[in-house]
């Protein structure tokens, strides 16, 4: 009984600490925005370095969706709607969610490990002793970069999945769906609200993953075990948070 009680209080304490940490990050954002070079470095590290995995995954997800969608639609003689099918599923759901899951695995874990190791090797203490606030110098730029990079990655994922190498390649080039129908149906059925909501979701997921990653890294025990635990829990907690947030956001966006 005492065990489960202390687990709950530990969790609540962790949540409280994470919230205060988020407040201090938000407080440091204006200062970080004044350092565009630092931001660019971090956008490169979390964004550009995640491109390959996003591009490849997007293509495969789009190809699979086209195969599965075609099989169902062709029975109803609605194979021309394949474009809408792929586009709606990708833009509304799979784009932001799968990108965020990949982002957590690729960039989130790297962030947590980097910050955890900086802590374990006294780099963060060293900065503090040089009168440099590590939240301003290290944490805030990484957080902003995550929030900024996620929507871009998600859009690239969607572009790959719907067009270029994904759904279009399979649906039009392989299965013979009419090229004009593929695009025009997307054009008429996909509204800008869908894209707005998709970008909103991505930004929220980006913020959640970055917050969890920098929190886990910054509060990791300064040992190799602590860093490995921080990396693991970043991926686990982020994945759960993404799926739960996706449900909440979708419920709000659902008309």
């Amino acid at each position: 009984m005492k065990g489960s009680f202390s687990i709950i209080t530990d969790m609540l304490q962790g949540l409280g600490r994470a919230q205060f940490f988020l407040l201090s990050i938000i407080g440091a954002i204006p200062a970080a925005l004044l350092r565009p070079r630092l931001l660019a470095q971090q956008v490169y590290a979390v964004g550009v370095m995640s491109l390959i995995i996003i591009v490849i995954s997007g293509s495969f997800v789009g190809m699979v969706l086209a195969l599965q969608g075609y099989r169902t639609l062709v029975d109803f003689g609605a194979a021309e709607s394949l474009g809408v099918f792929v586009a709606v599923v990708i833009v509304r759901e799979l784009g932001p969610v799968v990108t965020a899951l990949l982002f957590a695995g690729r960039a989130g874990s790297a962030l947590a490990a980097e910050i955890g190791l900086m802590k374990a090797t006294d780099q963060l203490s060293g900065m503090e002793m040089m009168a440099v606030d590590p939240v301003k110098r290290v944490i805030a730029p990484r957080f902003i970069a995550g929030v900024f990079a996620m929507p871009l990655l998600s859009m690239i994922f969607a572009m790959m999945a719907i067009g270029i190498a994904g759904g279009h390649a399979i649906g039009v080039n392989l299965l013979g769906v009419d090229d004009g129908a593929y695009w025009s149906q997307i054009h008429s059925s996909l509204h800008w609200e869908d894209i707005r909501d998709s970008l909103t979701k991505s930004a929220v997921f980006g913020a959640a993953v970055s917050w969890i990653a920098v929190y886990q890294g910054y509060h990791a025990a300064p040992t190799s075990e602590g860093v490995s635990r921080a990396t693991t829990s970043t991926v686990v907690v982020s994945s759960l948070a993404i799926l739960a947030l996706d449900f909440i956001l979708t419920a709000f966006m659902f008309h």
Binding site: D122, M130, A131
Partner: protein, 275 residues
């Protein structure tokens, strides 16, 4: 350098310091004075919280009670901004150098200058090269921390610690794990930088002979108390059996070789015991 009422006395004044780490009492009423312009050694066995003392002086950790004054200003009652201004006047050399691993040697030394000053690039370059020249690593400016030996990392850390021309430099175990040559290099550097730049230095160490040979003043701290303080010679001639055990590295004495345990015979004869 700022001069206050305490100008002729101690730069750092610790009074009645109490500090606990969880249930463990680390300091129990410690008074320490760090005289200006001198090299002061803080010695003691591992785990006595010598590093803790440096972190408390730097305001990173807060004592349970007691005061720490830096140049007449209480470190722990300052607001963040004022505390950061105080820290710009302190340099700290961490045990492993604590270099930023994603920056080159040059950029590591330039880091505090870039963060705290608006100096033009050409002046930053001159300053960084001056500091690196002082530690003999001007030629290593383009290396990355992973390419440096332990002793070199510490010298770069030292160049970085003096980049802002601080009043105080704190050395955390600078000699641990160094070969005799780089130990000698570090010892000479600590002494010569202190005298050439008019610094005040605190050297935390348990390498007794080495640290006593370069310091003007020394403290021996163990089990939360100051056991001895004074000049290097007075420490060497101390009549405290503990200090003598520490200086001579004797395996048994006031600090027992055996960890606290029940009598050996009882332990062996205990019947039916699992362990």
């Amino acid at each position: 350098m700022t001069t206050n009422a305490t100008a002729d006395t101690a730069l750092v004044r610790v009074r009645g310091l109490n500090f606990s780490h969880g249930p463990r009492v680390i300091y129990d009423g410690v008074d320490v004075d760090i005289p200006r312009g001198k090299v002061t050694a803080i010695m003691g066995p591992s785990g006595t919280g010598k590093t803790t003392l440096l972190r408390i002086i730097g305001g990173q950790w807060r004592p349970s009670s007691g005061t720490v004054e830096f140049d007449g200003v209480n470190v722990h009652t300052q607001r963040r901004k004022a505390l950061y201004d105080l820290r710009k006047r302190m340099g700290m050399l961490f045990q492993n150098g604590a270099l930023l691993t994603d920056l080159s040697v040059f950029e590591n030394v330039a880091f505090p200058l870039r963060e705290h000053t608006e100096l033009p690039e050409s002046m930053i370059r001159d300053l960084v090269l001056m500091k690196l020249e002082a530690v003999g690593l001007r030629g290593a400016r383009d290396l990355y921390p992973s390419q440096l030996s332990g002793g070199m990392s510490r010298r770069v850390g030292l160049a970085r610690a003096i980049a802002l021309d601080p009043d105080l430099v704190m050395y955390d175990e600078p000699f641990t794990g160094q070969d005799p040559i780089s130990m000698g290099v570090l010892m000479r550097l600590i002494r010569s930088l202190n005298d050439a730049l008019g610094l005040t230095s605190i050297v935390v160490s348990h390498d007794v002979e080495e640290v006593l040979s370069i310091s003007d003043h020394a403290y021996v701290i163990a089990s939360g108390k100051v056991l001895a303080s004074g000049t290097a010679d007075s420490i060497r001639n101390s009549d405290s059996p503990y200090v003598q055990q520490f200086l001579r590295g004797q395996h048994d004495g006031p600090v027992a070789f055996h960890y606290k345990a029940v009598p050996y015979a009882d332990d062996l004869l205990r019947k039916g015991a699992q362990r």
